[in-house]
Amino acid sequence: MKQRRYYAAVLAGGSGKRMKISDLPKQFLMLEDKPIMIHTIEKCLLIEEFEVLLLGMNTQWMSYADDLLKEYLDPAQRERVILVKGGDSRSDTIEMILDHLEKHYTVDENSVLVTHDAVRPFVSLRILSENIEMSKMHEMVDTVIPAHDTVVISTDGKLIEDIPVRSHMFLGQTPQTFNIRAYRELYSSLSEEEVRSLTDACKVFILRNKPVAIVRGDEANLKITTVKDLKLARALLEGSDD
């Protein structure tokens, strides 16, 4: 059995439009005394298996992000972070990260990429470790939580077409973890239209009827994309015994 290699990718392609409170992309907003992205990177780097962590960043924010990494990360941790230029979409950014990995590191049939949103700083070591464990048995792994609200389907946004069984509904989070070779192969088989339809990495496998395994996420592993999310994240940390 060849040695398995694990790489982490933190995706920070956001340009700050959804937050509407500042021109600063949400991954750079402060949570306690550090930018959100730094909390996320620090947690991911605690996973010993990761050879390096690739930070996919919107081009215009590359030098700003680099300064933050220098300012906030411990020097030994900083050495394990590689800043990579991201693309216009999530899947473009993943492609560019994979290009970088294949050019500079060893990528073989046992190489796995654990992708995580920069704006999910509450990710736990359990979730990260379970993604790694599950990737030993499955080529694609997603992190999800059960849907507590009823999910309805409406194509036009006016009338409901269907109400699926709630216990079958889950909400996707990250990390999403995949075997790099398998992902590359499937991605290259997609039509342009299929590529445009991608909202996350799992869809690449779903479109080709490949199994995607599930890891139990956590409601606290929230994605900070709106002002309300940021307030919620700050409230969760209230009473922090620092």
């Binding site: 949570l31 306690e32 005394d33 909390h39 620090e42 947690k43 780097l45 605690l46 996973i47 010993e48 411990d74 030994a76 941790q77 700083p121 509450f122 736990s124 070591l125 359990r126 470790s129 606290a220 969760l236 940390l237 009473g239 922090s240 015994d241 620092d242």
Partner: protein, 337 residues
């Protein structure tokens, strides 16, 4: 970085709290295996006084654990290194004094968060590496270190090696105390005095076993360890006073919430020394981690450990605490939170 602590909010009720972890001077450790202690059960079941519960909760329980280093800015430990964690937090180390009794010494899981956390931050001197010990046994290093501390307290009082030491109690602490005594003094006679035949049967490495209500009239020993605790402590202490030789040392190890009557007349007449022994320090941890490397000792501990599986949700935590109440043995579980 953000970490989480699973705190007992009030008896039978856990809640997750999120907090910021500094990455500057502490070693960060991910707990791997945890062991339950009676002290944790007393909080969980609300058996401490209302005043104590008000004062100490919310708090993460558990003070016995092994783990892996995930980050160490001091560079003393490697990422992934297996370690045991010392729950004592003394304000300073004072030469000639035990760290576990110093005024102002804190204890994790007594007034501050114990090891039921995602990540534990400790000063480098609160971390002891271990080698060649299965994790579920390494988890009880703190428990074993308490027995080493008891022996250390006795050794300080001994003019020469004793001939015969008695250990009162037949629970996990007594079992551990007897094993550590056997290791520390391979040639002495050890007698264990207990109440339960099925528990006493496991003490295959002692010389004599007696029931507390059938102690022979002529039984006599030089020193004794009281490992009973609770209401039973006082019967045990009075039996020790009756049977111990003059000028003997009595090491009190069992915790009791009660105050009882003891035969002070005979303590005076025999010139006995009573020593309170509680918790342990770094030196005791180092001895315990070395002791537990021996396959024969590991095999002995397998007899009293009860492995309760993986715990990665609050539901799992309740189950492990509830099962522990009705099952014999010392509960150890894998911590995956």
């Amino acid at each position: 970085m953000i970490s989480q602590s699973i705190q007992l909010l009030y008896p039978n009720f856990f809640s997750v709290s999120y907090y910021k972890v500094e990455m500057k001077d502490k070693v960060l450790i991910r707990p791997d295996f945890l062991a339950l202690c009676h002290a944790d059960q007393r909080y969980y079941q609300g058996k401490r006084s209302a005043e104590v519960l008000r004062l100490k909760l919310p708090m993460a329980l558990i003070h016995e654990a092994c783990g892996r280093v995930v980050f160490d800015p001091s560079g003393q430990f490697n990422q992934g290194q297996k370690v045991v964690m010392i729950p004592n937090d003394p304000p300073e180390i004072v030469k000639g004094y035990y760290e576990n009794y110093l005024e102002g010494t804190g204890f994790l899981s007594s007034g501050r968060d114990g090891f039921m956390r995602e990540i534990v931050e400790l000063r480098p001197d609160r971390v002891v590496p271990y080698y060649d010990i299965p994790e579920k046994i390494a988890a009880i290093t703190e428990f074993v270190s308490v027995a080493f501390h008891g022996v250390e307290r006795l050794k300080k009082l001994l003019p020469n090696e004793p001939n015969h030491v008695a250990v009162y109690g037949d629970g996990n602490l007594s079992f551990t105390q007897c094993l550590v005594l056997r290791y520390s003094f391979p040639n002495i006679k050890i007698s264990v005095i207990g109440k339960h035949n099925e528990k006493l049967r496991l003490f295959s490495f002692v010389d004599n076993k007696y029931f507390l209500d059938q102690v022979p009239k002529d039984l006599s020993f030089e020193h004794a360890f009281e490992c009973v605790g609770g209401e039973g402590s006082f019967d045990a202490i009075n039996s020790i006073i009756e049977n111990i030789k003059p000028q003997g040392n009595v090491i009190l190890m069992g915790v009791s919430e009660y105050k009882g009557a003891i035969n002070t007349r005979d303590i005076l007449e025999k010139g006995l020394i009573f020593v309170g022994s509680s918790r342990s320090g770094r030196e005791d941890f180092i001895k315990a981690a070395e002791f537990l490397q021996q396959p024969r000792i590991q095999s002995a501990f397998e007899l009293i450990l009860r492995y309760a599986g993986d715990v990665s949700s609050i539901q799992d935590i309740h189950q492990v605490f509830k099962e522990d109440q009705s099952m014999p043995g010392k509960t150890v579980f894998k911590w995956g939170y």
